[in-house]
Subunit: 239 residues, 6 copies
C-alpha cells in the first residue's frame, strides 16, 4: 500500500502553527495540516451565558465554518441559506466540548471564551486541525486574561490536540488527507490531552464494521500523532 | 458502589420491543429501555434523494425528536422554535449513519427508507434505544419490500444494536439511566453488528480524560450488552 | 347510507382515555377515538407570559404536532422544515382557546399550564380527540396544583369536550373517521362544556353551502356526542 | 344597551366598495366597513400549484396582512420578524377556503387566482371585510379571464359575503367595530352565499359559553347583514 | 428623444401629498409621484433601542414594503417567504439613514419614530417617493411630540426630499417612471435638504460607465426637482 | 489636520494583491488595504440562474462575509443567527453589480462566476478592498475559461477598482481607515473602470449635508486613488 501523498503510515502532514495571525482577537492562530488551513481565534468576553449565571465559573464555546470555496467545488454559504448544516453543528459541538476539557472552568471565573474555527482551505482533517490550532489560540487568550489580572490561578488544565486515523486500503494510517479520507473504510477522530488521557473518540465504519484489533492499531497511531502535535504546540507557544 | 437502580454493573435495564405499534408505517416499533420509551417507524418511499439519482442504489435516512414533555422539565418544541437543536441534529445523523451500516444499499435498489425516532418518555440512553428499536422497524420495512417484490436479493446486511457505557463513581457500568448519565465521568455510545463488528464508537470525557484501561473495560461491557440486545431483537422478529 | 365503519349515525367510535400515560408531566393522557391516538400532556410552570405579568391571573396555552408517520403517507417533520404549517397553527390556537374556557384564570393564580397534543396515529378527528383528552390532563394538572397548595379555590370552571359532525353522503353523522372526513360535504367541530354551553363552533362547507336545517341536525348530534364524552371523562377521572 | 357607535343592533357600518382601486391587478377593490379599510386584489396566473397539476381544475388561494400602523399601536412587521403570526395564518386560510366556495374550480380551468387582502386601517372586522371585498375583486378577475377567452363557461358559482356578529353587553349585535369586539362576550364570523347557503361559521365564547338561543339570534342577524352586503356587492359590480 | 410620458426632461410627474391618510398614526401621508403611490406613516414610541439607552438622544428607523400586487406581475409576499429581500433591506436602510439627517436626534430626546413606507402601487421611483412623503409624516409626528410637550426645542433640523435622475436614450432626465427606469443606462437617486445640502447620492451605471459630465447634468436636474418637491412639502404642511 | 495614520490626504494605504492565495478556486486573491484583509475567490460554474436560462448570456454574482473576529469586538456569526444582516446584503449587492460592469455578459456565454469576499481582518474600507481584489480574481477566472476553451472572444470588458473618500475633520481624504471612517462627516465609495468611467457612486452625509464643492474634491481624490489601484492590479496580473 502506497499513501497518495507518499507519507509513512504513522507520519503527520507538515504541520504549521502561526500565532498572532490576525490582529484583533486575544488569541489568533493559523493552523496548517498540509493543505488544510484553518484560522482559529479565541475571543474573550466578560460574563457567562444565562444558564451559568451566578455559578462562579466560566465557559468555552466554539463555532466552525468553511469559506464557500475552501473546497474543490463551491459550497453554498450557510449564512445565505439561513442555517448551519448538520455537519457544521456536529463539528462545532465537538470543538467546544473538547476545549472545555482543556480548561478548569472554575479557575476561569465568570468569563467566556468563544473559539471560531474558519476553514480557508480544506484537504481533509479540518476538525482535528481546528482543535489543535484552537487550543493554542485558547492558551494565548488565557495568557491575556492572566496578564490583565482578570483571572487568578491557572485556568489552562492541559493542552489538547486532535488527529484523525483510519483504515485505508486495509492498512491503519495517521492523519488522513482528502484523497485518503474519501476512500477510507473507517475514519476515527481522537482528542487527547498532553497527559495522555483520552478526551474524545469518534470512530465510524464507513462501509464494513471494523474489529477491535483494527481499533487498537488506530489508537496507537493516534497516540503517536498527538504526542507529535503536542510538541509542535509547545514550540509555537515558546516563540 | 451501588447503582441507583440496584442493577449489576453489566446488567441492561428491562428492554421491551413491541412491533406493529402504530398502524400506518411499514415498520413501527415501540422500544423501551426501562423508562426510556421511543416510537421508531420506518417509512418506505420509491426513489432516492437527488444526490443519488441514477446510482442504482437506495438510501436510509433518519430523523429524531423528543416530545416536549418527555423530560422532567418541559423543553421548547423544536417546530415552534423553527429549528432543530444541535443535539437533535447530532443524534439523527448518528442514527442514519448507523442504520446505513445495517443495509446493503445496492440490494435495496432505488428505494428510500426514512427512520423516525420519537421519544415519548426519556430516562437516559434515548439514542441507543432509538438505534436498537429502529433496526427492528427497518427489518420489517425491508420484509415489506421483499414481500411486495420491490427488491430482489437481501438488503439487510446485518442487525445492529446500540448501548451506552460509562464510568459512574469510578466504576464502568452498562446502559446508563438518567441519574447515572447526569453524574457520569465518561459516557460512551457504541453501535455494533450482530457479527461483532464495531460500527460506531463515540466516547466523551465529561470531566477528566479517561485511560485506555477504562476504555477497554467499557468496550467489554458494551459487547456483552449488545449481544443481549441482539437476542431480544431476534426474539421480537420471530414473533 | 352505510357508514364505512358500520356505526350508527349518532354513534361515537370506541373512545378510551388512559391517564398517567407518561411519567414526567403533571397531567398525561393517551386519548383514543378509534384509531386516532393522541398523547396529551399538561405541564405546570410558575409564572405567566410577559403580556400577563402583574395581572394576577394564570394562563393556558397549547401546542399540537403530528409524528411524521402518524398518517398513511409520511409528512415532513415540521421541526426539520423550520416552521409549523397553517393547519398546525390553526389547531393549536383552537385547543388553547377552548381550554381557557374550561378554567377560571383568576383562580389559577400566576401559573401557566402548557398543553401538548401529539398525534401518534391519525384517523380523522385529531383536534376533537386532542381537546377531549387534554381537558382530562388539565384536570390532573390542576389537581396537582391544589395538592401542592399552589392555588386556592377551584380553577377548573367546567369540563369541556369536543367532537366532529358532518354531512356524509347527504346524511348528518357524528364523529367522522378519515374515510368519512375526506369525503364529507360539510365538516363541523364543536366544543361544549359539561353544562351544555357552546364554547366553539367551526363549520365549513367543503363543496356546496349547507342549510340551517342541516346545521341544526349536526348541532343535535354534537350535543349527544359531547354528553357521551363528558361521561367518559368523568369515568376516567374517577379511577 | 347603547352601541358605542350609536348604531341599531342590526345595522351595518357604512360600507363602501371601490373597484379598480389600484391599476395593475386583474381585480382590485378598496373595501371599507366604517373605519376598517382593506385593499383586496385578485391576481391571475396561468397554471396551478404542483399538487393540482393534471387535475384539470383551477385554484384560489389567499394571503392576508396588516400594515404595521393600521392599528392603534404599531405592530411589528411580519416580513421583518421572518414569519407570519398564528392569527394571520388562520385568517388567510379562512379567506381562501371561503372564496373557493364561490368558484367552480373545474370551470376555472388550470388557472390560479391569488387574493391579497392588505389592511391599511383597522377598526374590527378585518376578516369579514376582506372576504366581502375580495369576492368583488375575484368577480372582476374572472370577468377578465372570460374576456380574454381563457376560460369557458362560468367559473363564478355564487357571490359570497361575510359579517361578524356577537353578544355585546348581553345583546346580540351585527358587525362589531373595535370597541365592541374587544368587549364582546361572544364573537362569531359567518360567511354565506347570495343563495342563502352557509359556507363557514366560526363562533367563539370569549368568556362564558353561549346558548343555542343566543346562537340562533346571532345567526338571524348575520343573515340580514349578509343580504345587505350582497346588494352592495351587486351595486358595485353594476357600475 | 421623446419621454414615454411626454414630459419635459426636467419635469416631475404630478406629485400629490395627502396628510392624515390613515387615522391611527401620529403622521400618515399618501404620497403619489404619478402612478407610484406609497403610504408613509410615522409612529412615535417612548424609549430608544438598546444600543442607545442612556445616551440622551432619540432614534429614527424605517421599514419598507410593497404590497404583492403593487407591481405588474405579483411578487411573493415577504412575510410568507420568511425574509425581506436584498432590495427591500437596501431601500429601508436608505430611508432611515436619510431621515435621520432631517432630525436633531439630541433634541428628539429618548423617543423613537418608526417610519413605514408601504407601496400600494408602483411605477418607478418608489424609494424617492417614500423619502419625500415620509419626511412630511415625520414632520407631523414631531409636531405631535411638541404639542404633547414630549420634546423641548426643535427636533426637525430640515425638510428633505428625494428624486431619481438618469440617462435615458442618451439624455439626462428627471424623475424616471417605470418604462424609463427599466431602459435607463444610468440611474441615480439623490436626497437633499431644503438648505441645498446633499445627504445621499447613489448612482449606478446599468450598462456602460458614465462620465463626470453626465454626472453633473444629472445632479443639476436633481437639484431642480428637489427644490420643486420641497415646495410641495411646504404646501402640504401649510394646509 | 493630521490623519491618524500620518498619510497624506491623497495617499492610499499600503495595498497588496496576492494571487493564487488558496488552491481550489479558479481565481483566488488576498487583497490588503493596510490592515484590512479580504480573501476574494472567483468560482466558475457552467450554466446560469433560472431567470437567465436560454438568454445566451452569463452571470456574475457575489457574496460577502466577515469572520466573526475580523473586528475589534466579536460579531455574531451570520450563519448561526440564521440570516445575513442588512449591511452584508447591501455590500454583496454592490460587489455583484459593480463586477457585472467589468464583464461582457454575452461574451461570457452561459457560465456563472460567483465571487466570495470574506474579510479576515477589518480596518475600514472592506467593500472597496473587496471590489478591487475581486476584479483580479475575476480576471483569473476568465483567463481559466479562455484557456479551457469554454468562452470565445473576451468577456473582460474592463478592469474596475474601488476606493473610499470622505470628509475627515473638514478635509477631504482618500482611503479611510477605521479611525477615520468612524469619525468622518461624509463617507463615499466610488467604483470606476480603468477607462475612467464611473460605475457606482454612493455618498452619505453622516452628520451634516455636504456641498457640491466637497463632492467635487472627493471625486477628484477618488479618481487619483483608483488610477493607482488599477496600476497595482495590472502589476499583480503581470506576475
Amino acid at each position: 500500500m502506497q499513501r497518495p501523498s507518499g507519507r509513512a503510515v504513522d507520519q503527520l502532514r507538515d504541520v504549521r502553527i502561526t500565532r498572532h495571525f490576525t490582529c484583533h482577537a486575544e488569541g489568533s492562530v493559523l493552523v496548517e495540516f498540509g493543505n488544510t488551513k484553518v484560522i482559529c481565534t479565541a475571543s474573550v468576553e466578560e460574563g457567562v451565558p444565562r444558564f451559568l449565571r451566578g455559578e462562579g465559573q466560566g465557559w468555552i464555546t466554539a463555532e466552525y465554518g468553511m469559506l464557500p470555496r475552501s473546497t474543490g467545488t463551491r459550497m453554498g454559504r450557510e449564512a445565505a441559506r439561513g442555517k448551519q448544516g448538520g455537519r457544521t453543528v456536529e463539528i462545532q459541538r465537538l470543538i467546544g466540548r473538547s476545549l472545555r476539557a482543556a480548561v478548569d472552568l472554575k479557575a476561569l471565573g465568570e468569563n467566556t471564551i468563544t473559539i471560531d474555527c474558519d476553514v480557508i482551505q480544506a484537504d481533509g482533517g479540518t476538525r482535528t486541525a481546528s482543535i489543535t490550532g484552537a487550543c493554542v489560540a485558547l492558551a494565548d487568550a488565557i495568557a491575556y486574561l492572566k496578564e490583565k489580572g482578570l483571572v487568578k490561578g491557572e485556568p489552562l488544565a492541559r493542552m489538547i490536540a486532535s488527529v484523525s486515523v483510519g483504515i485505508y486500503q486495509g492498512v491503519p494510517v495517521l492523519d488522513l488527507d482528502y484523497p485518503e479520507d474519501s476512500g477510507a473504510e473507517t475514519d476515527m477522530n481522537i482528542v487527547m490531552g498532553n497527559d495522555g488521557g483520552i478526551i474524545e473518540i469518534q470512530g465510524t465504519a464507513e462501509g464494513e464494521p471494523f474489529t477491535e484489533a483494527e481499533f487498537a492499531a488506530m489508537l496507537a497511531l493516534a497516540k503517536k500523532g498527538i504526542a507529535d502535535l503536542n510538541q509542535l504546540q509547545q514550540a509555537a507557544l515558546a516563540q
